[in-house]
């Protein structure tokens, strides 16, 4: 049966490769249309890969993307579209920053406390959308978009000096966190430090795979995503599954901002990265909701982000990277669906051919079963 496994790998790789190729070609067309070299920007960006400081930046940035994309992917696996990862991680990071600034426990307790705060905040925020969906039938897409807007306002409120805010010059912050909650990075010489919580991202990826593929819960979740009706008939309580998936997705989303919070900024300020939740959607799509695929996609995204500023020094607009990201998402959607259908049909044909040739499982070596014709 190895050939069907190989087949699956081929199909898994074909989608992204086609999408990336199409996106590169389309971006090249954009460059040509604006009267610029379609090749040089890429050469420049590839060159950036060779610099160790850029490598560190890419890895650090990718860890945020990776966690956010995992959160989105959990929803995707059961056809839930959690657009609210953005609001969830920002609110969670802020709450963690506030707790980190006000609580002062030994590091062994402080760090878990901060992680827990972030998880609970994220889960609470997505849970609102989950509860609305199962009790009132509100689409989680609408609810989470609204909750993103509300999260922005809540954050603005918490930033007020008489709430939790601390003004530093013109910047709103939540005050410096106690050092016991900092996580020191891995120094890589002059290149900087890799966030300690990059390992959290890796662990989450492993946990995601194990939970989905090796537990009963994961099976139910995947079944719900593959066929709501079949899952219900198999005994999955659809409402409970929606709520659980939303809570999980939000809980993971809550962690997305922590690598940078605990590893670098140590406060939640106006400079804190925004929009990672939305990028996570594209990354999860490109990574086909698989932990390994998402890792590659997150690194690719981070590379486009961190290598593109160099373009400004060579007369190109760094926005070409953003155009590229958009084009990738667009081509991904098209190419995956095409590859999926092509793969299904191809397998059906192959199975038909194998059966016709008498390769039936369970047939003895000397006797081949006759295949029933239709």
């Amino acid at each position: 049966m190895k050939k069907f496994d190989k087949e699956r790998v081929l199909l898994a790789v074909a989608g992204p490769v086609i999408a990336l190729a199409v996106a590169f070609v389309l971006s090249a067309i954009v460059l040509v249309a604006s009267g610029k070299s379609p090749v040089e920007p890429y050469t420049l960006m590839f060159e950036q890969l060779g610099f160790s400081d850029i490598q560190v930046l890419i890895i650090n940035q990718a860890s945020l993307y990776y966690i956010a994309a995992l959160a989105v992917a959990i929803g995707f696996r059961m056809n839930l579209f959690n657009i609210g990862v953005d609001g969830q991680y920002q609110l969670a990071a802020m709450m963690a920053a506030v707790v980190g600034a006000h609580a002062s426990l030994p590091a062994g307790l402080q760090v878990p406390l901060l992680l827990l705060t972030a998880v609970l905040t994220g889960a609470f925020w997505s849970g609102i959308a989950g509860v609305l969906k199962v009790t009132r039938g509100v689409s989680e897409v609408v609810a989470t978009i609204m909750l993103n807007a509300i999260a922005t306002s809540v954050i603005a409120y918490l930033w007020l000096p008489d709430v939790f805010g601390v003004k530093v010059g013109n910047n709103n912050t939540t005050g410096e966190m106690h050092e016991s909650g900092w996580i020191s990075g891995i120094p890589v010489g002059d290149a900087g430090e890799i966030y300690g919580l990059v390992f959290l991202a890796v662990l989450l990826g492993i946990g995601y795979w194990v939970a989905l593929n090796r537990t009963r819960f994961g099976f139910d979740l995947r079944a719900s995503g593959a066929s709501e009706t079949a899952a219900a008939a198999s005994g999955v309580d659809p409402k409970r599954m929606v709520l659980t998936a939303m809570l999980l997705s939000g809980g993971i989303a809550g962690l997305a901002g922590l690598p940078i919070l605990l590893g670098d900024t140590h406060t939640y300020s106006l400079n804190f990265p925004t929009g990672i939740g939305f990028l996570g959607i594209g990354i999860a799509l490109l990574g086909r909701n698989s932990p390994v695929g998402i890792a590659f996609a997150a690194l690719l995204w981070a590379w486009l982000d961190k290598a593109s500023p160099e373009l400004d020094f060579h007369g190109y607009d760094k926005e070409i990277a953003v155009i590229m990201q958009g084009l990738i998402v667009l081509s991904v959607v098209v190419s995956y669906e095409a590859v999926r259908e092509w793969g299904l049909r191809r397998q059906q044909r192959r199975v038909g051919a194998e059966l016709a040739a008498g390769h039936v499982l369970g047939a003895d070596n000397n006797t081949t079963k006759e295949v029933a014709g239709r």
Binding site: M1, F4, D5, N213, R214, T215, R216, F217, G218, F219, D220, R222, A223, A226, S227, T229, A230, A232, A233, S234, G235, V236, D237, L344, R345, Q347, Q348, R349, R350, V351, G352, E354, L355, H359, V360, L361, G362, K369, V371, A372, R374
Partner: protein
């Protein structure tokens, strides 16, 4: 328009109505992966006739009509309209050739008037104003359709909507009408009215293709009948020379079990007891009412009925997808009315769903994952919260061998198997957990002959070991051949019961239309009309 090619067609124009061929399908073959397709179908519809196409559900009638209406392309075979070979790539092509279809589910916009609905999409024909209204009135009078152009569709009843659909098709110039199960939604009086309309149509020289699986109706309205079984045409018949029994036999074939069931294995230990079960729509209309029955160990209870009379709801209530509004369900001696689907499955209710693609399989998942579906909490598939893929794969291999699932391996997706093999996998899966009670809804629908016999054997085998089975089927011979007890469901109620040892398909068929209630007994003097020996509910059931 090009000239008619007369070479292969019968002498054109020379013959009167009823002799000229309107539509001829020859050697039509259509393959789909995983489902019964059409195979070498031949169908000749003469002008000015009602031609019935009968066959069980899943026999391939709808696929054939989709091909004729241009919604699907045949892999092989030819279509000829008025003696001229044609190929359709869309319904628009079919309409140009005078072929129109009235779908089972109406395609009307509720908030538009009849006139607006009729002209929608065909504004170029007669405009949208007075000319169109005149045309509609003219058609309505000519064929006795009684359609009022200015009524809002939402005000119309089902029968009137159907007439609007028919008029829509005529308005577009159809000379051959395909009616897909037109009577499924109608009450008996409306059916009679519809048949009057059809007679008008054919007297005007139009042809009607009438798709149905109700033999009584077919015999009363059709001039000719083509029977389709397992995707291929098995013969044609003329109503005057055919009895319902002969037709039924053609429909279901002769490879069916003779109703001589093996010795009874029924015991007196009840497994499942349903008491006064009632299920309502959100609006309070009863979908199921006063359903009571008991199935004992080793007993197969067959439920006969025209589709849509509450069978689906009954299955949903038993497996826990819908919860009873009143009444109780008891498994052995535990009341399970409030149990979830998962608990019911864990406690020994097996489920072969009516629609295996929607409820029985994850089509894009490998076979071994489909083995887990529905039994994710049970041994050997799980240990605590953990899945055991190794054990699942091993057990899938066992099922594949024991149930003769034809597949090159257990890693292929369920979608790549044929319908029969998918069904054998489901049967094997459900039987693997030693159910006490099995819900078998149309267990052999769309399944090839070999698989059908195998599935029957498995069910019989399990029955011998004490399994209680609720069998729902549209195939009357399957019901009669397998069941120990028969009940008839009509309008959400169990209206009649019968002894499968003596009942005939015709008697059962007439009870399914609500024409007979109570205990049905065989009576040789009046075949086809069941004897009413006791009819506790006949008062509330209007017989035709």
């Amino acid at each position: 328009m090009c000239a008619i090619k007369a070479s292969s067609s019968p002498p054109a124009g020379a013959a009167v109505n009823g002799q000229v061929t309107a539509v001829e399908l020859a050697g039509i073959t259509k393959r789909f992966p995983g489902v019964v397709a059409n195979h070498d179908i031949h169908l000749t519809v003469r002008k000015g006739t009602v031609h019935a196409l009968v066959g069980e559900n899943g026999a391939g009638k709808s696929t054939l009509m989709k091909i004729l209406y241009g919604m699907q392309k045949p892999d092989e075979g030819t279509i000829a309209v008025d003696g001229e070979q044609v190929t359709f790539s869309s319904p628009a092509d079919a309409i140009v050739r005078g072929i129109g279809m009235v779908h089972q589910h109406f395609m009307l916009a509720d908030n538009l008037t009849v006139l607006e609905n009729v002209v929608l999409g065909s504004e170029k024909l007669y405009g949208i104003g007075a000319k169109a209204r005149r045309k509609i009135k003219e058609l309505s009078e000519r064929y006795g359709l009684g359609v009022e152009p200015d009524r809002l569709v939402e005000e119309l009843g089902v029968a009137a909507r159907q007439r609007v659909e028919i008029l829509k098709v005529l308005y577009r110039g159809a000379r051959t009408l395909i009616l897909d199960e037109p009577t499924a939604v109608l009450v008996p009086q409306e059916v009679d009215a519809l048949f009057e309309n059809l007679r008008e149509l054919k007297s005007e020289g139009l042809s009607v293709i009438f798709i149905s699986h109700k033999l009584g109706e077919v015999l009363s309205v059709a001039d000719e009948i083509t029977v389709i079984r397992r995707g291929t045409t098995v013969g044609t018949a003329v109503p005057a020379e055919t009895t319902p029994k002969q037709l039924a036999e053609m429909m279901v074939g002769s490879e069916l079990p003779t109703p001589e069931t093996a010795e009874s294995t029924v015991t007196d230990r009840p497994v499942i007891t349903v008491d006064k079960l009632r299920l309502e729509t959100a609006g309070g209309k009863a979908l199921l009412d006063d359903i009571s029955f008991t199935i004992h160990e080793g007993e197969i209870l067959g439920i006969a009925g025209v589709e849509g009379n509450g069978q689906t709801e009954l299955v949903d209530a038993l497996i826990g997808l819908k919860h009873a509004d009143t009444g109780t369900i008891t498994l052995a001696d535990e009341e399970i009315t409030g149990w979830t689907t998962r608990k019911r499955r864990e406690q020994g209710i097996g489920y072969i769903p009516e629609d295996r693609h929607r409820h029985g399989l994850l089509l894009e998942a490998p076979l071994w994952e489909n083995r887990i579906l529905g039994h994710v909490t049970e041994e050997p598939l799980a240990k605590g919260v953990w899945l055991n893929p190794k054990a699942a794969q091993q057990d899938t291999r066992r099922i594949v061998e024991a149930y003769d699932v034809r597949t090159p391996g257990i890693d292929v997706t369920a979608a790549s198997l044929s319908g029969g093999n998918q069904q054998k996998l489901i049967v094997g899966r459900e039987m693997s957990h030693k159910p006490r009670f099995l819900i078998a809804a149309h267990p052999t629908r769309g399944v090839d002959v070999g698989a059908q016999a195998a599935i029957w054997d498995h069910i019989r085998e399990a029955r011998r070991e004490g399994l209680a089975v609720l069998l729902i089927s549209a195939d009357l011979d399957e019901l009669i051949g397998l069941s120990d007890t028969l009940r008839v469901i009509y309008n959400g109620k169990l209206v009649a019961d019968a002894d499968p040892a003596t009942i005939t398909p015709e008697q059962l068929g007439s009870a399914m239309t609500g024409a007979a209630t109570g205990h049905l007994e065989h009576d040789d003097t009046t075949p086809g009309t069941p004897n009413l020996s006791k009819s506790p509910e006949s008062g509330e059931d209007e017989a035709r």
